[in-house]
Symmetry: C2
Subunit: 332 residues, 2 copies
């Protein structure tokens, strides 16, 4: 079995040297109540970068020389736990290890009938879809006819946010980094407008043009100058959902930019950060709505699937270069 541990904390952009592969030749055994798992799919996500810093936080940082963990789908190889049968698939937070033992806590059985791909459970019916749906509805409180801007729109969360916003009757503007992604936002995900931040000189004007009635909801995955530019177009009572700040996760200095406070007070606007687990009691409702839209073909998704356990660190690093479209998943 192989395990990926955090060898050193990244300074700035993470590199392969921050990770170490540990190979062990042993047979894992399970006690009563435990299950033996073989990892099938591993989710790599921008938020993991924050946990690689040694910063005080209410989610403790990853420890050095211990396994990194993230959202994983795994197959049950052996079971001494009544809830799980050999051959079941489960999803949950698990180590970046090819095999591991679990007591089943925090794991959910994956139902292959609800969605076409097991990897969906890491995506649109997993943390990604829950993050998109709950951030948008609980903080964004979107109303039909309003305008939403989504940054990181071609990413895993962003592409789902845009589609849900369309279902709910909003005008949807996506910001992404290549023309190919912009095309995908419009043709595949039904966004009304797309702005390529790499080829647009004046983001402030581009956003104002794309949102002639102003911006009511901003779903922010990136932070930095893109988000600063959106502030100039927000409407009274705008809601700004801070889901992530991928553009600054690798900063070694504290990021600076536009002071948002004068914009918030002038517009009686709200800006709120969240992690999806804040809304855990709403997961069943959210999964039901997402499953419904998925089965009605109102919701679609894109995955970037990378092959092989050894490629997990590189797949993670590639997130910060925007190399993924939609959810980045490593298939073992």
């Amino acid at each position: 079995m192989k395990t990926i541990v955090l060898k050193s904390r990244p300074e700035g952009q993470p590199t392969l040297s921050n990770f170490e592969f540990v190979e062990e030749y042993k047979t894992l055994t399970i006690a009563d109540g435990e299950i033996l798992l073989e990892v099938a799919y591993v989710s790599v996500d921008p938020y993991l970068r924050g946990r690689m810093n040694d910063a005080k936080s209410y989610v403790p940082p990853f420890k050095l020389n211990e396994p990194v963990h993230s959202g994983v789908v795994a197959k049950v190889l052996e079971s001494k736990n009544d809830k799980f049968q050999v051959g079941d698939y489960v999803s949950g937070m698990l180590n970046w290890s090819t095999q591991q033992v679990s007591n089943g806590e925090g794991l959910n059985k994956v139902d292959p009938e609800k969605a076409p791909l097991i990897s969906t459970y890491l995506g649109i019916l997993g943390m990604t879809g829950l993050t998109a749906y709950l951030g948008l509805t609980e903080i964004g409180k979107p109303k039909a006819g309003e305008t939403i801007v989504v940054s990181g729109a071609a990413g895993a969360v962003g592409s789902v946010v845009g589609q849900i916003a369309k279902i709910l009757g909003l005008r949807v503007i996506g910001i992404a980094g290549t023309d190919e992604k912009i095309d995908m936002l419009k043709s595949k995900f039904g966004f009304d407008e797309g702005i390529n931040y790499n080829t647009t000189k004046d983001m402030k004007s581009a956003i104002a043009e794309a949102a002639p009635n102003g911006v009511d909801v901003y779903f922010d995955n990136v932070g930095g100058p893109i988000s600063d530019a959106v502030m100039f177009s927000i409407n009274q009572f705008a809601r700004i959902i801070i889901c992530g700040a991928i553009s600054v996760y690798n900063n070694t200095e504290l990021p600076t930019g536009l002071s948002v406070q004068p914009f918030l007070v002038k517009n009686s606007a709200l800006m709120q950060g969240f992690i999806v687990s804040n809304y855990a009691e709403k997961f069943p409702e959210a999964i039901q709505r997402l499953s419904g839209w998925l089965s009605e073909n109102k919701l679609t998704y894109t995955e970037t699937i990378v092959d092989g356990f050894d490629n997990i660190p590189q797949a993670f690093i590639d997130l910060f270069e925007g190399k993924n479209k939609g959810k980045m998943i490593v298939k073992i």
Copy 2:
């Protein structure tokens, strides 16, 4: 009669030359439904600065060569309106004119039995008290045992926020600009801790020391570097109330500073701007609670009273130098 009009829009710090006194020698007459008012007290407030800019906003800016207006208490000299009798005092948004005619819309009769001073209606039972109470309770949602930081704590709103927070059982830390003000916060208003930002080199550490359990609520009147320093101490689920940003109102460049988004997402924290009129339907409840605390002597206030109509512009300018303690009022 004299009227103060906005002669030119301030660039940066406002100066006396931005205002012009217009003297007219005429007798004002009233039609049916109207009242003739003599201005008694004029409130000068930092938010007026924003309205002097020619910026798109949902509150229209002051027009050049037209009267400035703000919260005023006035005496009824003549009345052809059944709701108001000669000799009544009213409060509301009125022009900076010694005398003026009104149809009574938006004016409230001032009840001298509810509070000792007429000027109170511009302060603790007026917009100031409502702003403090409604911003704190509606956005801050304070809970007993939590810690609050108030910036601009010796100002009109800040000193009331701190006292209400004490009544509600919070640990209260005030930030102000002189040792005299800090003394007043503790001795007169019952704050637990005070930080003088003019003599404190490391605001970040000073706030962390004063708030050993972190900051749950931040009532922000000032913006700028003081507010940036508070971000390092916020707790999970912190609520940051953006009431004003006096430190940057006179900036001629767009203010920049710490990017708050990474702090908000890391702490699932909320930051919300407001103006008190957003909560107009809660005014009666708020006034009832404030009056109650006032009559129980749980709430006190300080006013800086300047004498004379001609001194209104200078009193307004002095706000930005922090020359006021508590509410700045001009007595005519």
